[in-house]
């Protein structure tokens, strides 16, 4: 990016509004915090919770450091295997966010492609794709994902497939709508008349013009996926026990909740809430900014 482009971006309305929008700033700080944690976190926590050699069974079920019986070495306490809850959360957040982001990218790619194809091609292809989308929408995503996972069995790549199969629809519908609208515009007709091949029209002219609404959908979807994945893992049909996400950490803590050992499940839940809250704050800001009709 050249200096002048950067200057223009910094002087833009988007940046101006962003600076005056406290929720948006808070949201991006939260998201940045998480980006930092998942990148450098494992180097900062004292323990690799999945290296058995580093676990001390003697240290199991320690409460958080500020409570009676707490150990300053374990700020947020330990679980039944003597795993540091904080370290488990750092590793679990990596898995949750990885799944959320990857599934979002896959859904976006698949949904946008199908949406453009449906809108641009029209006819039977459009009908088939959109009918599939309608059927999908008549079922809540969580239920579809739960059903798919019950057929697949646990595994990160299976969670990704399940999330993508429910996530593409929203892009396909949005993009199809924008494509239909753009297709009518004169500049597309001009491009056609000038003999540009279809794929070039799609890539150069349609795609850039249908991208804006997708950004909002994509942002919020990362949060939605983190929540759905947590639900699946909580039910035991998500990630495998060797790769516990935040949802699976909550499940593990649920089993001992009735003995009063609350910290094992409460902290991972708070982290999910903070993460999704930050993402939603950003998403709300983007929606208001990028959708001028709402102003």
């Amino acid at each position: 990016m050249s200096a002048s482009t950067l200057d223009r971006f910094l002087a833009s309305e988007l940046v101006h509004n962003y600076r005056r929008n406290l929720p948006a700033v808070i949201g991006s700080l939260i998201v940045l915090g998480f980006a930092f944690t998942v990148t450098f976190g494992p180097g900062l926590v004292a323990q690799d919770p999945y290296d058995i050699a580093q676990l001390e069974l003697m240290d199991s079920f320690k409460p958080p450091a500020w409570l009676e019986g707490g150990d300053p070495a374990y700020w947020l306490g330990t679980d039944g295997q003597g795993r540091d809850v904080l370290a488990s959360i750092v590793y679990g957040t990596r898995i949750s966010l990885f799944i959320g982001l990857t599934a979002m990218l896959a859904s976006c790619l698949l949904g946008t492609t199908l949406g453009i194809v449906a809108g641009f091609h029209g006819g039977w292809l459009d009908a088939v794709i959109m009918r599939i989308a309608d059927i999908q929408l008549s079922f809540p995503s969580v239920l579809t994902a739960l059903f798919l996972m019950s057929a697949f069995g646990t595994g990160i790549e299976k969670v990704l497939i399940a999330l993508t199969s429910v996530g593409w629809v929203v892009y396909a519908r949005t993009v199809r709508g924008s494509t239909l609208r753009e297709k009518q515009r004169e500049y597309i007709q001009a491009a056609r008349v000038s003999g540009l091949p279809n794929w070039k029209i799609i890539l150069r002219h349609i795609l850039p013009n249908v991208l804006t609404p997708i950004i909002v959908v994509a942002t919020i979807q990362v949060g939605t996926f983190v929540l759905i994945e947590a639900s699946l893992s909580f039910l035991g049909v998500g990630v495998p026990i060797t790769k516990p996400s935040l949802g699976l950490l909550i499940k593990n803590g649920f089993d001992v909740l009735f003995s009063g050992l609350w910290w094992i499940s409460v902290f991972p839940g708070l982290v999910i809430m903070l993460l999704v809250f930050g993402i939603n704050l950003l998403g709300d800001f983007l929606r208001d900014e990028l959708n001028p009709r709402l102003k």
Binding site: F139, P140, L146, A151, S231, L235, S265, I272
Partner: protein, 321 residues
């Protein structure tokens, strides 16, 4: 209107058929249920007999034809675990699920409507910002985790409410319900509140947005000009019009509540269809999973159909294509 209803009814059948194909395909290509039916030391003979009994010795196409024929006759086979017809299992547990779903919906509406109206009518006030922040927290929370925290606080620590189960039920018109006795209410309150959180948060946002839109309209200004009080403007003119679009999200809301009931019921050991589904998934009890999916699909399709028709009837401005 009539043509539209016919067209939608045809679409409904098409959707249900597609769901039946999907369910059948997923079920046929994921594992063989024969081994759930026979003892571990079964002979070849016994295995072959079990396969015949399950109809697995036919081709996939024939199997699907048989499956469809049985489904149309309301026969989904017997549960491998309970040894009774799968559809009666679902019907037995349905009232428990509908009870928490409707109670959750009622809680969500009762809380969300006043707060949404307030935030939509006074978008600049600090209270409205608090309402919006609260609803954003609400949609960012994992619902099942909220349930756990409620159990910990109200059942384990304060011991105000029981942590699981449905408690005593009473029969009303042949349906067993639990909200009529004090003990039953104590059992239902935590699961219903847990289930309502997500819907409540979304409803609040929708009502606020609709109210903001409606309050800008000319008829609101006219109502003010002719001297209608603030309360009358907000509720008789504002809310009444803001609620119309809410009808369209009713189907989605119901769907989400039924879906999230699987988690809530699992946490609170609530004996509804959601817990039955999760248990059946663990046990590989295929007939029950199939009947759950077909039943829920039927319910959603019918509700969405009713919602669309109702919407057109309520608001004559809507033109049906």
């Amino acid at each position: 209107m009539f043509g539209y209803v016919i067209k939608r009814a045809f679409q409904m059948v098409l959707v249900l058929w597609a769901v039946s194909v999907l369910v059948f395909v997923m079920m046929s290509f994921t594992g063989d249920p024969t081994y759930m039916m026979v003892p571990l030391d079964a002979t070849e003979e016994q295995i072959a007999q079990a396969r015949r009994l399950l109809g697995l010795d036919h081709s996939h196409l024939t199997q699907y034809r048989l499956f469809l024929k049985n489904v149309l006759q309301g026969d989904f086979g017997r549960s491998f675990v309970f040894r009774q017809p799968a559809n009666s299992l679902i019907l037995e547990r349905l009232p428990a699920t509908l009870e928490i779903v409707f109670l959750a919906m009622a809680i969500a509406l009762v809380v969300a409507i006043p707060l949404g109206v307030y935030a939509g009518a006074n978008p600049k006030r600090a209270g409205s910002h608090a309402v919006m922040a609260g609803s954003l927290v609400g949609i960012s929370l994992p619902g099942f985790w909220v349930g756990m925290v409620l159990i910990f606080v109200f059942a384990v620590k304060l011991q105000l409410f029981p942590s699981s189960g449905r408690g005593p039920t009473q029969e009303v018109f042949g349906i067993r319900v639990s909200f009529l006795t004090w003990e039953g209410l104590r059992h239902i309150i935590l699961p219903a509140v847990t289930l309502s959180i997500g819907t409540l948060a979304i409803l609040m946002r929708i009502i606020r947005a609709e109210m903001m839109e409606v309050m800008r309209q000319d008829f609101v200004r006219f109502a003010r000009a002719k001297g209608v009080g603030q309360r009358g403007v907000l509720f008789r003119h504002g809310l009444k019009n803001a609620l119309i679009p809410l009808v369209t999200v009713f189907g989605l809301m119901l769907g989400d509540l039924i879906a999230f009931a699987t988690l809530t019921e699992t946490i609170f050991a609530w004996p509804g269809i959601g817990k039955l589904l999760v248990d059946s998934i663990y046990r590989g009890d295929r007939p029950v999973i199939v009947v759950y999916l077909m039943f829920v699909a039927l319910m959603f399709v019918v509700v969405n159909f009713a919602v669309d028709v109702l919407y057109a009837l309520i608001d004559p401005r809507i033109k049906i294509r």
